[in-house]
């Protein structure tokens, strides 16, 4: 690899930056020395000069943050794409998603601030305003791309989670089948097992107030039998597990692990159903809007007919008015004629009498 001697470039850059700084300081000196008349113009130059460099500083910082976030997103993509069954690192992925979300929100705010800042700035040339607005738009589009990628990564992650859950279910196939049938209906086997568990903890945990614990256990058992919601018997199983006394067989443990997984998903299922209902409502709304548009389009035809009819009416009425006017002029003109005829007749009569 040949080395390139770039010290000259470095020196020229340093000189340029120094001249830029001295240029601003000379502007300041000029404003101090010159008369107050020139103050306004140089003052106008100074803040815009500073503001332009300030703008570029802010824009540079924002783009740096965007590249950082993009780097974190790449890491997250790598983590999310792993298809191993057991080495999944949900904690790390969750933390990373949280951090990226926060970063994106912060970047959004920064870009909004930058936009307001540019709106409040007056620039000497139209090109400078165009430039700043272009920079802001490009930053926004970069951020939009990053958030689109983030969304894709999250979708990939959910798909992978679903796949891994299916694979896990395949391995625990038999117990999964049992529990799928029994998740909402408590079988007598499970009921008896739970009651057996309910009896054991009160005997072992004497430090707690036994009455209240049995009360809650009994109530929770009755609530469990009454509705198939979240099952609180995990309290009892957890307590037996934490005490380390093997009160349950491995098969039961597997079953309860299955139930626990089903529990975890229940919250997520609730959310997904709620969001699906929102989606269907929105689709319904879309259909209603379509219908509305169709009806209005049909009515447009009636409106055109009405339009045509009124134009005809206007034409007819105008024509009729014209005729009547002609008629009127005819009548009035005939009178004039009559007058003239009578006048001549009278003249003739007068002539006759004079001759006579």
């Amino acid at each position: 690899m040949s080395f390139k001697d770039r010290t000259n470039e470095f020196h020229s850059m340093v000189d340029r930056i120094r001249s830029r700084n001295t240029a601003s300081s000379t502007l300041e000196r000029r404003s101090l020395l010159s008369s107050p008349k020139f103050n306004s113009s140089s003052n106008n130059k100074k803040p815009t000069h500073h503001s332009r460099s300030e703008f570029s500083l802010m824009a540079g910082e924002i783009s740096r943050n965007i590249t950082n976030t993009a780097g974190k997103l790449e890491k997250l993509t790598k983590l999310a794409k792993r298809k191993t069954l057991f080495d999944d690192k949900p904690v790390e992925i969750g933390e990373l998603t949280f951090i990226i979300k926060q970063d994106i929100a912060k970047l959004n705010k920064q870009i909004a601030m930058l936009q307001e800042y540019t709106k409040g700035q007056r620039h000497p040339s139209k090109q400078a305003t165009e430039h700043t607005s272009n920079v802001v738009v490009s930053l926004q589009s970069k951020l939009a791309d990053t958030s689109m990628n983030f969304k894709d990564v999250l979708e990939i992650r959910t798909e992978n989670m679903k796949m891994s859950k299916d694979k896990r279910d395949q391995f625990l196939f038999s117990t999964a089948e049992q529990n799928a049938e029994q998740s909402f209906v408590s079988s007598p086997l499970l009921k008896s097992r739970r009651r057996g568990n309910a009896d054991s903890p009160p005997q072992q945990q004497q430090q707690y107030d036994p009455s209240s614990s049995t009360a809650t256990n009994n109530n929770s058992n009755s609530a469990l039998l009454a509705q198939g919601g979240y099952q609180p018997q995990h309290e009892e199983t957890d307590s037996t597990l934490s005490l380390g006394i093997p009160m349950i067989t491995p098969e039961q443990q597997q079953q309860q692990q299955q139930l626990m997984l089903a529990e975890q998903d229940r919250y997520i299922e609730h959310r997904s159903t709620a969001i699906e209902s929102i989606e269907s409502t929105i689709a319904e709304l879309g259909g209603i809007f379509q219908q509305l548009a169709t009806m209005v389009a049909e009515q447009r035809e009636s409106v055109q007919r009405i339009d045509q009819n009124t134009e005809d009416i206007e034409m007819n009425v105008m024509g009729a008015q014209r005729e009547l006017l002609k008629y009127y002029t005819n009548i009035s003109s005939n009178r004039w004629l009559m007058i003239k005829i009578f006048a001549t007749i009278i003249l003739f009569f007068l002539l006759f009498t004079l001759i006579m």
């Binding site: 107030d209 959310r271 409106v303």
Partner: protein, 195 residues
């Protein structure tokens, strides 16, 4: 649908300890409030000790439900509400509260309970009506209102259609009448010279 309390706990050597809590016991009688609060504290410590990290549970007793979530960073959040309060909203509220709490109070400040976290009170008040506070429910509500408004709009568009049809008929009648008018005027004008 009421929220009774929000509690945040941490575990110190396998024993749960309440770090911050807020209560809204206005629906209980004045003399019962003390004992109810004691009961809530005790039951929340008990439940938190038995909840593994990363798991959500809901425990019912009489008419009240305790929704509990063990956050992966060793902190538990419990919301005690009545049975009708939707569990989904409670858990999403727990997520939000625990995240903000972790941002505001890093781990080293947990040593002197109880901490003062006034946002808990705001959340407790705001989320008394889950339909307004939870985003998903609010969106669903607004969508339902919009659909109702759209149905009314379609009704009025139908009526507009009917009125437009009647307008068409009337304008046609008027048009034929004006034509007759024109013809009559023309007739009186041209034929037979007027006197």
């Amino acid at each position: 649908m009421k929220l009774y309390s929000i509690l945040i706990l941490s575990k110190v050597q396998d024993k749960a300890q309440i770090i911050a809590s807020q209560f809204d016991l206005s629906s209980f009688g004045y003399f019962q409030r003390g004992s109810v609060q004691e009961f809530m504290n005790f039951s929340s410590t008990t439940i938190a000790e038995r909840t593994p990290i990363g798991q959500r549970q809901s425990v019912e007793s009489e008419n009240n439900v305790a929704h509990v979530y063990g956050h992966p960073q060793d902190i538990w959040g419990i919301i005690i509400s009545d049975k009708e309060y939707p569990s989904r909203v409670a858990f999403s509220l727990l997520n939000k509260i625990l995240d903000e709490f972790l941002v505001k109070f890093p781990r080293d400040k947990w040593n002197n309970p109880p901490l003062n976290y006034p946002e808990l009170n705001d959340y407790l008040l705001k989320y008394q009506d889950p339909k307004q506070a939870d985003t998903i429910m609010r969106v669903q509500n607004e969508l339902d209102e919009t659909t109702a408004i759209l149905h009314k709009t379609i009704e009025s568009v139908l009526q507009r259609g009917e009125k437009l049809d009647s307008l068409v008929d009337r304008s046609e009648a008027l048009s034929s009448q004006s034509k007759m008018f024109y013809k009559t005027a023309k007739k009186t004008n041209s034929c037979c010279v007027v006197m």
